[in-house]
Each structure stands twice: as C-alpha cells, then as structure tokens.
Symmetry: C2
Subunit: 326 residues, 2 copies
C-alpha cells in the first residue's frame, strides 16, 4: 500500500505517546513479583522522563487465578495502585490490561470517576473480537479511555483482520493495537500492516498503537518503522523486559524521539539501579537464538522459554526439533 | 528518493551475497587472537552453510604494526590462509581487508593467479577516496575482485559523498559499501542512503554492500531494509561479533534469506561450540546502553569500549559525561 511517512527523523509529532509496559509484560517473566520499591521507583522515573502512560499490570479474574500464587500486579487492585501513585498528580496516565475471557470485567472495575486508572487495554485474539468490543463498550461507558490489542496478528487471516478493524472502527475504542506477539514481523511487512490499520480508522479520530516482541532483534526497528507511517501509541519496557525475547526497549525509543518532553536520564538511573538486580534474581528475558527460531517460524515462544529455563545451549538440536513438530 | 523495493519477502534474489566478517571485525575485539581450530571450524561451517564470502582479516603493514603484538589475522599472510583452506576447493570466496594508509599494498599482495584470496576490500574515510581508488585499481590490475568501503558515512557531508560515489562509479571497483561505522543510522535514513548509492552506480554493473553496527540494536534491521532496495553484498558475523556493539548477526540474516542454498544449521553448530568460549575468555561485544549512546550521538564508540573494559555500569553518569564533551 502506498502511503507516505508522517513527519521525519527531526520532527516532533505531538500525537506520539510512549506506554511503559514494564510491570505488565515484564511481569510475565517473574510472576508479577516486583518489589514495591521497584514499582514506586519506576513510577517516579517514568513521570520524570515524560512517559505518557504506565501500565501497572493485568486485571485478572480472582476467581480464575489464585491470588496467593501471583504478585499483586496480576490483579491491579485499586488500593495497590493508589499505594504507589496516590492520586497520581502527574501528567502521566495509568493503564491496566484486561484479557478477554480471563477477567471479571463487569464486577472488577470502578467507574472512572472513582478510579486512578485512566485507560483499560483489552487484549484478545482475532476470534474474540466481538467479546473484546463488548468489553471496550463497557469500559467506555464507565468513563475510561480504551484500547483493543489484537494479539498474534502474524497468524491472522487478512480478510478476518480487515473485518475486525472495520468492527473496531465503528466501536467506541480509542486506540487499536497492532501486536506482533511472536516477534515474527520484519520492518517491511510490519509497515504494510500498519498502513492497513491506519487506513481502517481514517476519519474516526482513533489512534493506532504497536506492541513489539524482540525475537528477531527487531522490536525497536519495527516500532520506529511502523511509527513513521502514523502509528502513535508505542509500547516499550525497561531494557526490553517482557515475555521471552522481550519488547522494545524504552531507552532506545526515548533516545530516538525528538520531543523535548522526553528525558532519558531518569530512565537510565532506574535501569542501573534495578535491572541488574532482576537478572541476578534469575529473571530471564531478551533476544537469544531460541527466540529467533520461534519468531522465524511464526510460533508461540513457549518452547523457547522452556529451553531457556532448562539452561540449554544446544541451539542446533533445538532448531531441528522445532522443524520436526511444525 | 522514490525507489521501489527490489523483490519481496518470499523471493530469492540471486544477486545477494553474504559476507562473513567474523574474523576481521571480531578480531577487533580480541586482537585477532583466534585459535586455528576456531578459524578452521568457521571456514567449514561457512562453506556448509552456503556463505558467499569469508573475510579472513586485514592485510596490515608489517612495518607499521608489530607482528608479535597481534594475532596472525591482522596480517593475513598467504601461507596462513592456505593452512586453513588449502586451495579452497569450495564455492565460497575469500576476502581480506586493506586499510588506506595502514598497509603496504604495493608489496604485500601476490598476483591473484598465485593467491587463494578472491577479493580485496579497501576501507577508507571520505577524504581518502583518491587513495582508496588508487589501491582499488592496483588490486584490480593484479586480478582481484575489489570493494571500497566508505567508512563512517553518517558523518559525511552529502555533496562529498555524491562526488565520491561518482568517482567510484568510474573506477574499476566491483562493490561499493555503505558502512554505518557508528551504528547511528535508522532504517529510514539508511534506506535513503542506500537508494543514493544504487542510483550512483546505475548501469555500471557494480554492486552495493552494507556493513552495519549494532549500537542501537538496528544492525539486522538496517541490513534487511537497505537490502530490500537493491543492496546485495551484506556483511554479517557469528552472533554479531565485532567492535563495540558488534555487527549484523549472520544467523539472523541467513534465517531471513529465502535462497535454499543457505543453511542455518551448521552456523548454529559453530556458534554453540565456539562463541560461549570466547565470552568466557573475556571477549566483549554486543548491544548495550553505552554503545546506544555513542550511536545516538553519531560518535566513534571508543569511549563506550573503554566504559565496557572498565566494567562500569553507571550508564546515567556516562551519558551525562558524553553530552559534556560533545
């Protein structure tokens, strides 16, 4: 699809928003077991650095998931968020994620007027779009900003994707996310997809976001390439922490952006204090060969995560085995 | 510049050549001190994997550099290469690099008919283009394939670059390289530069190559993006080994390419046997924050390499200091 880039490498685009998903996607690496100091320092670092949104975690169903088996950010209770942010007297907004089929959305959300949460992001697979839209409309009626993240887009049939985008374009959703769950997109096809999302919401005032995974070491590249065609909500995490190969590193993204409201220094202070400690605690994330293979094969990273957890380094055997059970 | 992509994500482009620069750029990380087993295994793995060129190192001046202070691949004597490859009965070609001003090119090269070397790559800065062309013509007259690598292109004035490309287009050189020495290019401006190189050699039959550095974790992305506009000689190294943040990883590049002659399996066997050993020996390379900073600031990585060698992790202080002496 022919569509010019929006802005250039020196411009400031005021529509761009950076969303820090460190706790939410990073929580998938450590069962959401972050210290209060970590989360509190992260909040302060993000505010000082001009980050636009900070996602605190999931609003998972407490009837489906045992609260004693996860850190509190899998559930994001109002009081736990407030213990960190108070009334959130800052320019940064707060988001949480709600998975279709894994949350009690009718009972677990306060009206926006009573909550410190600003945005609810609904995550769904393509076949769950009607359920996702029902949730979006509910959150919208409660007064929240809303997003809908269509996961695993690299495995989605194009006709179904076009239908889903058409349905979302007619809904109340504020932001639609292109999500490269398996890290299998290249800048070239990620950009083509981005143009389709942009075209689908033309004239509606809705924004498009991008959530990258770093399986082929392309998370940052895909983020800035899709952004150049008009995507505006860009997810990133501290040092790219996130499931498997992780996400786009927030320090790379903030380094790239030209808007003077962003300041990388406080992100670096946070990173040098906290991220090596996580590594020492045995929390694994980041690009490695096993994740490259699942990205290349357009598959869920679960076997690569297992390979990592087993401390294996026989990459060639693992690659052969992946081809066997394809 | 408007120029369509050449081929697509499923095509095989027969013009594409992969050049393994593991020993040459990786040698900058360990003073070219690779074991014979390493180099011999690398040669065999590259041949089995369908790699097109393997670069053995530099042909540095033995009157300027003390042979006792470097590994042999800084000098690439004919007998040392032959000890690994014999007569090189394979489809893979052998290259060496010659730096302008740092080699005795008039005395240190045999006629091609007596050498197992196939290609000589001349590396120069923009102000050394006349000297580079003189060397190219000399190597061409000896019967070698030739390349000219214009280094640090991100700091080059556009008018001078256009003049240099015009001069090279009239020379005997076979391949002209776009070299992102500081890892400061993004896919967007790397591609714009690539188009200028392509346009400059149109109709001459010359090829354009790309040599990436991974300071902003964009080495692979920039390699495949510039390639998509017609660049065809792509440098890569095992696990991206190379000075500072390193280069494009050959396993990512070979994973991406669709030509069935390439086979990633033997690269993986090599990597799992040899690369962790280099890390254990204390050889440093790869993306980290300090290299991101110098890439972002479009500067030589020497201060970041020093930061790494000093085992420092005070990224925020280092970043502040870099801004101070800019």
């Amino acid at each position: 699809m022919t569509m010019p880039r929006k802005g250039n490498l020196m411009d400031v685009r005021q529509d761009i928003k950076v969303l820090d998903a460190t706790i939410r996607d990073g929580g998938l690496c450590n069962n959401f077991d972050f210290s209060d100091e970590f989360v509190s320092d992260l909040y302060r670092a993000n505010v000082k650095s001009g980050i636009d949104y900070m996602e605190f975690g999931y609003k998972a169903s407490k009837s489906m998931f045992d609260e004693t088996k996860y850190g509190k950010w899998k559930f994001c209770k109002e009081e736990d968020i407030r213990a960190i942010v108070g009334e959130n007297h800052s320019d940064m907004k707060i988001s949480v994620m709600a998975d279709v089929g894994r949350c009690d959305y009718k009972t677990d959300f306060l009206p926006k007027s009573e909550s410190v949460i600003d945005m609810v992001r609904v995550a769904c697979y393509i076949h769950q779009i009607p359920a996702g839209i029902e949730m979006v409309e509910h959150f919208h009626s409660l007064g929240y900003e809303t997003a809908c993240n269509i996961m695993a887009v690299s495995q989605v049939n194009n006709d179904q994707l076009m239908q889903a985008l058409e349905m979302l374009a007619k809904s109340s959703v504020d932001v639609i996310y292109l999500v490269d769950s398996y890290g299998s997109l290249y800048p070239e096809n990620a950009s083509e997809l981005a143009k389709k999302y942009i075209a689908a919401v033309e004239g509606t005032g809705k924004q498009i976001g991008f959530h990258a995974h770093n399986n082929q070491n392309l998370a940052f590249a895909n983020t800035i390439e899709t952004m150049s065609y008009g995507l505006s909500f860009m997810d990133a995490t501290m040092q790219g922490i996130g499931r498997g190969a992780g996400n786009c590193s927030i320090e790379l993204l903030v380094g790239f952006l030209k808007n003077p409201k962003y300041n990388i220094y406080h992100l670096l202070k946070f990173i040098e204090k906290h991220m090596p400690v996580l590594r020492e605690q045995g929390v694994h994330w980041g690009y490695d060969l096993q994740y490259m293979f699942t990205g290349l094969l357009n598959r869920h990273p679960r076997e690569a995560i297992e390979f990592t957890n087993d401390n294996r380094t026989d990459y060639s055997e693992f690659y052969k085995a992946l081809l066997d059970n394809h």
